[in-house]
């Protein structure tokens, strides 16, 4: 059976503002699921809290709309409980790098086989426009009235530096490329991180579609995503050009590979054997 993007569409119409970048991510995600012909009954989309974290509600797949900043541990819990399920964790940049920042390095280091899509609008959307850990220096918001003075986190560079075995960047204004990137992330064995530049049209009046359309450029054709240092360097280019594409990819044992290796040759212990002898 060949599925189409419509098979993944939920009954609920997205509640995002008209023009929100997250629509592009939703479309690309459904396209990617269809291209991989994944069974909607075998997908779990796990999110935290934020506008972007509403995404699981708009899909026909299984989903968990969870705690702010805890999408990754909860997604890992789903994967641990049922490794057969295709786990896609989604959320905002605040969810991922502010409140949830502590979880990211460990999920990446663990190389657990899931896909993490962060919709980066460089602002808190749901709570009406506060400064985010991805906001530029001098960026003015309701919570940074004199301009932000904290260095922004570069999600792709951060992911690579903490051990992600797949790190890519897409743009919600380029749905075809984004679909390819999501397909690559889902098919990657291990922790796959995808940053999507996804403008908040309501609260971020600086980082608009126009701003990104002028800068977003695919990585050069000859670029090879196998060098961590080079990948971090390319990910940090932010001035006139912002690269999209796969920055880094590495084949490595996944969390479940390690567990299988450890379990090899181990004789399963029955519950009866675990009970201490009464003698």
């Amino acid at each position: 059976m060949v599925r189409t993007a419509l098979d993944y569409k939920g009954k609920l119409k997205p509640t995002w503002c008209p023009g929100c970048g997250d629509f592009g991510v939703l479309t690309a995600l459904f396209n990617a699921f269809a291209r991989l012909d994944l069974d909607p009954n075998n997908i779990a989309i796990v999110s935290g809290i934020g506008c972007s974290s509403r995404l699981p509600g708009f899909a026909s797949t299984y989903g968990v709309h969870s705690l702010h900043g805890r999408a990754l541990p909860i997604g890992q819990g789903v994967k641990l409980a049922n490794p057969e399920v295709e786990v896609v964790v989604v959320g905002g940049d605040g969810d991922a790098f502010a409140i949830g920042g502590g979880h990211f390095p460990h999920a990446a280091r663990r190389n657990i086989d899931l896909t993490y899509i962060v919709m980066n609008n460089r602002i808190y959307g749901l709570t009406k426009g506060q400064v985010a850990p991805t906001s530029d220096v001098n960026f003015r918001t309701v919570s940074s009235p004199y301009g932000n003075f904290e260095e922004p986190i570069n999600p792709v560079a951060f992911a690579i530096s903490v051990g992600a075995t797949f790190a890519a960047r897409g743009f919600s204004g380029k749905v075809d490329q984004l679909t390819d990137l999501i397909v690559a992330a889902i098919t990657h064995r291990g922790f796959a991180f995808l940053e999507v530049i996804s403008p908040c049209v309501t609260f971020n009046k600086v980082h608009t579609y126009k701003y990104f359309q002028e800068k977003v450029t695919p990585l050069p054709a000859e670029y090879q995503p196998d060098d961590r240092t080079k990948a971090i360097e390319m990910a940090q280019v932010m001035q006139d050009v912002i690269y999209t594409g796969i920055f880094y990819r590495q084949e490595k044992l996944t969390y479940h590979d390690w567990i299988s290796k450890i379990m090899e040759g181990v004789r399963p212990v029955t519950p009866k054997e675990l009970v201490l002898s009464q003698k």
């Binding site: 809290i49 709309h65 705690l67 702010h68």
Partner: protein
């Protein structure tokens, strides 16, 4: 950050709305253990979980019975208007310093989102604040201060905990605050805090106009919970009516005061909706009929 700033000897505070406060419980428990004063403001919304963003009073038990681990209490202040919130903020800091313990200001989301003219009736002179010789920040010429809550010797920890309990006992004796409204000869006694109390006053005025002897006890400190107004009210009272924007939390403390002396009725709103004056009036009138 609040723990760090308080440890360095300055007045520090933070504020959030329910889920964020749940996250802070570990830190609050550590601050009590470290004897650090600070003010934590919670504008409650409906829970559990993400719940909604409508106003609620669902964190009463968390605030008054200790949401974190260990034997401890916080003085919990519950304003019912913005003016009172402004007034209580100063008291909150003073109480925190007095006991070297965090203080919680517990209000519902309405108070956070409403606008009202207020008067700042006080000025704080930083130079006149009580000294904090226990704070960290340069030990030149004196033994060093170390802020900690760890004590691995059970006997010592027990002694330390009894010392903390002494502070809570003093707070119980000295910090109780409450308001009595139209309590003269009151037969139907409403017990409400925060915004609910403010709405209830309107209904009580109307009930009195109609000849129904209704009155209100409004705890301002939810911990320590007031006892006196209940002792005073019980003899004349016929019935108690507890109204809360939750499924019934403060009612447990009211029961401890009223015991089985009088029937206690309860009506709650646990999802983010608010009582209207006419709704409360109707409740009072129905109690009047059945009394």
């Amino acid at each position: 950050m609040v723990l760090g700033a308080a440890a360095a000897g300055v007045r520090a505070m933070t504020s959030s709305s329910s889920p964020g406060i749940s996250l802070m419980q570990e830190g609050i428990s550590y601050m009590v253990g470290c004897q650090l004063p600070a003010v934590i403001v919670n504008f409650m919304r409906g829970g559990p979980g993400l719940g909604g963003i409508g106003p609620a009073q669902s964190d009463y038990l968390q605030a008054t019975k200790g949401g974190g681990h260990g034997d401890y209490n916080l003085v919990v202040l519950a304003p019912s208007t913005i003016q009172e919130l402004v007034d209580l903020m100063k008291e909150a800091f003073d109480i925190a310093d007095r006991y070297r313990n965090p203080v919680m200001v517990l209000a519902d989301g309405i108070i956070a989102q409403m606008m009202e003219a207020v008067e700042f009736k006080y000025e704080v002179d930083p130079a006149a604040l009580p000294p904090k010789p226990w704070a960290v920040g340069g030990a030149k010429g004196r033994p060093k201060n170390v802020i900690k809550s760890l004590d691995l010797v059970p006997e010592n920890l027990e002694k330390y905990n009894w010392m903390l309990q002494e502070k809570f006992k003093r707070a119980r004796a000295n910090e109780v605050r409450y308001e009595e409204y139209m309590m003269e000869e009151a037969e139907i006694v409403l017990v409400c805090f925060g915004t609910v109390a403010r709405v209830a006053k309107k209904s009580i005025e109307e009930a009195r106009k109609q000849g129904v002897k209704a009155g209100l006890i409004r705890p301002i400190t939810l911990w320590p919970f007031p006892e006196e107004p209940f002792l005073k009210a019980i003899p004349k009272s016929k019935k108690f009516l507890v109204l809360e924007m939750n499924a019934g939390q403060m009612i447990e403390d009211v029961k401890l005061q009223v015991c089985h002396a009088r029937p206690i009725e309860f009506k709650g709103k646990p999802g983010g909706t608010v009582f209207t004056p006419s709704e409360i009036l109707e409740l009072i009138l129905s109690l009047e009929e059945s009394k």
